[in-house]
């Protein structure tokens, strides 16, 4: 029975998707991936319930939903600990620091040529590994997680903002000079705005990195609250409903921050060719 239902929904689903993908309107472009997502959830539920997949392997979506509802206070506490105390302050400090250092370096070509190659080298390294060191220096609580997030977000912003500031065309710079604009005026009115797409790229990248940094840092020791702590301990206790609930929260947060930053980028860099 389950097999027949599964095969039928697979067949009907793919037929529907093929039909939807033929359409060209905006509705079709949005509907196709959404229908696919719903189809995946439906088949996941079907397989879990129909074949009696053990809960410790893969809980069905409905019990993940139920876990989110019943554990809401706990999820809120973990959110407060991990996101409000570690991710957001760390993301702000790391990104702002990277941007400021990039602007400062920009005045000295020598320093820029010295720091930027090292910066891109460091941003390719597994920086999460400093988590145990930060736990040793700043203690088990959120301070050490925020420090990891700062270290993880600093270098991508430094490298991207550095590349963005180097983007200014010679023509525009010459034009500013004919206006007798000083360094500060050129920076504020020409170079920073033209670097904005790069800065936003780094901000979006950093949003995901910050979440990863804080969650992974909690694997190395934490007070008994926090998303990373919950994921690692509940996974070890095989309470996968809670683990999936935390993952859903993390995924929603990541997508939401990405979407918000994209909206902000659109309204701040409306002049950029990619929006025309």
């Amino acid at each position: 029975m389950t097999t027949i239902l599964l095969l039928a929904s697979m067949l009907l689903g793919s037929l529907l998707l093929v039909l939807l993908a033929r359409g060209d309107g905006r509705i079709f472009r949005v509907a196709t991936p959404v229908v696919f997502g719903v189809l995946v959830l439906w088949m996941w539920q079907l397989v879990c319930v129909g074949y009696g997949v053990p809960f410790v392997l893969l809980p069905p979506p409905t019990s993940i939903g139920a876990a989110i509802v019943t554990h809401l206070p706990m999820l809120a506490a973990d959110f407060r600990q991990t996101v409000l105390r570690a991710v957001i302050p760390g993301w702000v400090i790391g990104s702002a620091g990277g941007l400021l250092v990039a602007i400062a370096l920009d005045r000295s070509p020598f320093l820029r040529r010295g720091v930027l190659p090292l910066g891109s080298l460091v941003s390719a390294m597994p920086i999460v590994g400093i988590a145990p060191i930060m736990v040793m220096w700043f203690g088990f609580d959120w301070q050490s997680k925020a420090a990891v997030v700062v270290a993880m977000t600093f270098f991508p912003m430094l490298v991207n903002a550095g590349a963005g500031l180097a983007q200014t065309g010679a023509m525009e710079a010459d034009l500013m000079r004919t206006y007798a604009a000083g360094y500060t005026q050129t920076l504020l009115k020409l170079r920073l705005p033209s670097a904005l797409p790069f800065v936003f790229n780094a901000l979006k990248l950093n949003a995901t990195l910050a979440l990863i940094g804080a969650i992974v840092a909690e694997f190395f020791g934490t007070p008994i609250v926090g998303m990373g702590f919950r994921i690692s301990t509940e996974a070890a206790r095989l309470d996968l409903g809670v683990v999936w609930a935390e993952i859903v929260v993390a995924a929603v947060l990541g997508t939401l921050s990405f979407a918000l930053l994209s909206l902000l980028e659109r309204s701040v860099t409306f002049w950029h060719p990619s929006y025309h």
Binding site: A124, A131, P132, S257, A259
Partner: protein, 284 residues
């Protein structure tokens, strides 16, 4: 030389600051161990050779890496090279899996409209999701159904590098010039011919930058995947046991070994790119 000089100067400053910080941060600990009649310079010297310093000196880290790499036989669990090799192997296997899967998926997305419309939005959205958070669960669940050893870690490493490779390859396969595609059509080339003669060669200029991003990600995935299994082997295990027992030297040497592996991974990608460029007569 003109390019190396600024980098070397900055590096020298970083190392100098590191040494100075190691004196400052280890001062209290050195003072507590010092004898009563110890002078300032005695304590300062003691900060450079503590067993569990708050901040080890660059010299101590280098010495620790050297002794743990070459002081033990290669298969000994105390050998740093042993752990580095395990992590490198896990990330390499994962990277190769995701390379094959990513390229296959990109080919599907480029050629089948339905796949493009269905999968691409999800691929783009997945970059905003902290996928590394699922690592502990995947390792535990796979361990439950009897999959242990390197495979679970390789899967997570591959999962992380899958997305940059797929999106890069989709861009690459679409990057060929419309004029050239039209030209091939006037030759009445088949779809396969267009693929092997135009799309695939053009995609390499996008695949290699994607691999440069993906290779370090695979390493991060492997290291984090080693954490939840009770820290048996690998650089992640070295980090975790070092963290449990306060062995700072072990943490720092594992960290620098991981950094070395990341540099090595990117260098390997660059080397294979150089080979391809040479085979193609100087361009990618």
């Amino acid at each position: 030389m003109t390019r190396a000089l600024p980098v070397l100067c900055v590096l020298a400053v970083v190392i100098a600051v590191w040494f100075a910080a190691s004196v400052g941060m280890n001062w209290d600990q050195a003072q507590s161990f010092a004898e009563d009649n110890a002078t300032w310079s005695d304590i300062a010297r003691a900060t450079q050779s503590l067993n569990r310093p708050l901040l080890p000196t660059p010299w101590q880290v280098a010495r620790e890496m050297e002794t743990t790499s070459f002081g033990y036989p290669l298969n000994a669990p105390r050998s740093l090279l042993h752990h580095a090799a395990i992590t490198a192997w896990e990330s390499l296997v994962g990277f190769l899996i995701s390379l094959v899967a990513g390229i296959a998926m990109a080919i599907g997305v480029v050629h089948v409209r339905t796949l493009d419309r269905v999968l691409m939005p999800w691929l783009v959205a997945s970059q905003a999701i902290p996928v590394l958070a699922i690592a502990p669960m995947v390792v535990v669940v796979l361990g439950n159904i009897g999959l242990t050893g390197i495979l679970p870690k390789a899967l997570i490493a591959g999962w992380l590098s899958f997305f940059p490779i797929t999106t890069g390859m989709v861009k690459g396969l679409r990057s060929s010039d419309v004029m050239q595609r039209d030209l091939l059509r006037t030759y009445s080339a088949t779809g396969t011919q267009v693929f092997t003669m135009l799309r695939w060669p053009a995609s390499m200029a996008f695949l290699f930058p994607a691999m440069q991003v993906a290779a370090p990600l695979a390493l991060v995935g492997a290291i984090v995947a080693e954490l939840p299994t009770g820290a048996q082997a690998g650089l992640g295990a070295r980090l975790l046991t070092g963290s449990y027992y306060g062995l700072t030297l072990q943490i720092w040497s594992a960290l620098f070994m991981a950094a070395l592996l990341a540099v090595l991974a990117v260098a390997l990608v660059n080397a294979s790119q150089a080979i391809l460029v040479r085979a193609r007569g100087g361009r990618l």
